[in-house]
Amino acid sequence: MGRAYILQGRIGGREVEQLQVGDVVYITGEIFTMRDQAHLKALEILRGGGSLPFDLQGGVIYHCGPLVKGGKVVSAGPTTSMRMERSEGEIIARTGARCIIGKGGMGPGTLSALSSHCAVYTEYPGGAGALAARSVVGIREVHWRELGDPEAVWVLEVEGFGPCFVTMDSHGRTLRDAIKKGEQ
């Protein structure tokens, strides 16, 4: 089994470098939900020379469309990350995000960006939305609600959010390759 780490607040390159596939991460601080439409919108703005209404430098992107009711997060598990593969590398490069949380793994474009920009991809157990919501302390902000609630960017305050399994690290390794080779 891997080692367990707690990531708190904005994440630096050194913290990411020490993480290896198979490690488990628990996150305290703020995370930004971003899925299909938010990735497209962010890239449109950034490519046009604009800036985002939120700061992802050293931040955590969560592939999630939370179920929110009355200002409270009811259920908030991960969505399938591979749909964001076409955008993720550029998102990491342009925003400086250090950690992605999702499920199901990502592809070569993301893996290469994780190495070049010292970031990490982690996975939360898929479908465990009720469990995940228990680590969400509150909603700090919401952006782009016009995209529809599942697609909006929710800035969530979380405490000990995990287990997030490191499945793609900043050293070019992926957990599923390691499993196939019998290393894990």
């Binding site: 439409q37 179920l67 598990g77 399938t80 199901g104 469990l131």
Partner: protein, 279 residues
């Protein structure tokens, strides 16, 4: 039957996993180790939290599919179902999942053109029977249908099912349930594959050949060793449920509806004012 009955059935379905599915997941936990075991532990804990807290187990509360058996005109039943879905979206609550396919604009209440999906079939008696399935998109997105040539036969059916599941990999939140539809037409095979998910995992299959195929497919799917959440292991699928229909002599349609571990289904039976909920 009233919209309130539909909304109540949806609430139970979204917050309480059917016992046959939970039992199958618990059996997997005993067989796995490492990260695969840890994620299954988290999944089972999640199921308990959802039940005790009365909250949806997954934030993707799905597209809602209704299988209705009733006599005569179904306008009234369809109206009740739609009203019940809008009611459940507020009360359970459900995530608003339905959007325009082009503009991606969200309708806000899980209603829309063609939504919820309602499949009607005639019923032999006065009883109205409604099966409800909440289908998440992570698993629906990796489902597939194909038109085989008849000479591809059973070997071709198995290869298509295995190829679909191999390609899906970790995306649909395994361990999955594979609903397989064989025969009919392109649309009928797809519908059969979805209807197959309404059968209990521990319910015996009447047709001997279908039963045999289910057992073989499950063994071969699990030999892919995709494992819980794609972290490797013995349990890639909890069950295979197969439904067949006769087809054109030139065709062999096959569809696979892949279902995540959170198989959320429930049944309503109504006769006059009496409404019963069944798991």
């Amino acid at each position: 039957m009233r919209p309130e009955d539909i909304a109540e059935a949806i609430r139970i379905m979204e917050t309480d996993l059917p016992p046959d599915v939970e039992a199958a997941l618990a059996r997997c936990l005993d067989e796995e180790e490492g990260i695969s075991r840890e994620v299954l532990g988290a999944i089972l804990e999640n199921v308990r939290i959802a039940r005790e807290g009365g909250v949806p187990m997954c934030q993707d509360t799905g597209s809602l599919v209704f299988f209705v058996g009733a006599k005569g005109c179904c306008d009234e039943i369809c109206r009740i179902i739609k009203e019940g879905v809008a009611m459940a979206t507020e009360a359970v609550p459900l995530r608003a999942n339905i959007v325009d396919p082009f503009s991606r604009r969200n309708t806000g209440n899980n209603l829309g053109r063609g939504n919820p999906m309602i499949h009607l079939e005639p019923s032999p008696d006065g009883m109205v029977r409604i099966g409800i399935l909440a289908k998440g998109a992570g698993s629906e997105n990796v489902s597939a249908a194909t038109m085989l040539d008849p000479d591809q036969s059973v070997a071709g059916i198995k290869e298509f099912v295995l190829q679909t599941i191999r390609k899906a990999g970790a995306k649909p939140c395994p361990p999955i349930i594979a609903g397989v539809g064989v025969g009919g037409s392109l649309d009928e095979a797809a519908l059969l594959s979805k209807r197959a998910l309404m059968r209990r995992l521990d319910e015996p299959t009447e047709d001997a050949f279908a039963a045999h195929l289910e057992v073989e497919l499950l063994r071969e799917i699990n030999s892919l060793r995709i494992g819980p959440m794609g972290f490797g292991g013995k349990n890639t699928a909890l069950a295979v449920r197969l439904e067949a229909a006769d087809c054109h002599t030139a065709s062999l349609p096959v569809a696979v509806s892949i279902q995540c571990w959170a198989l959320r289904r429930i049944f309503l039976e109504a006769e006059g004012d009496r409404v019963a909920i069944r798991r």
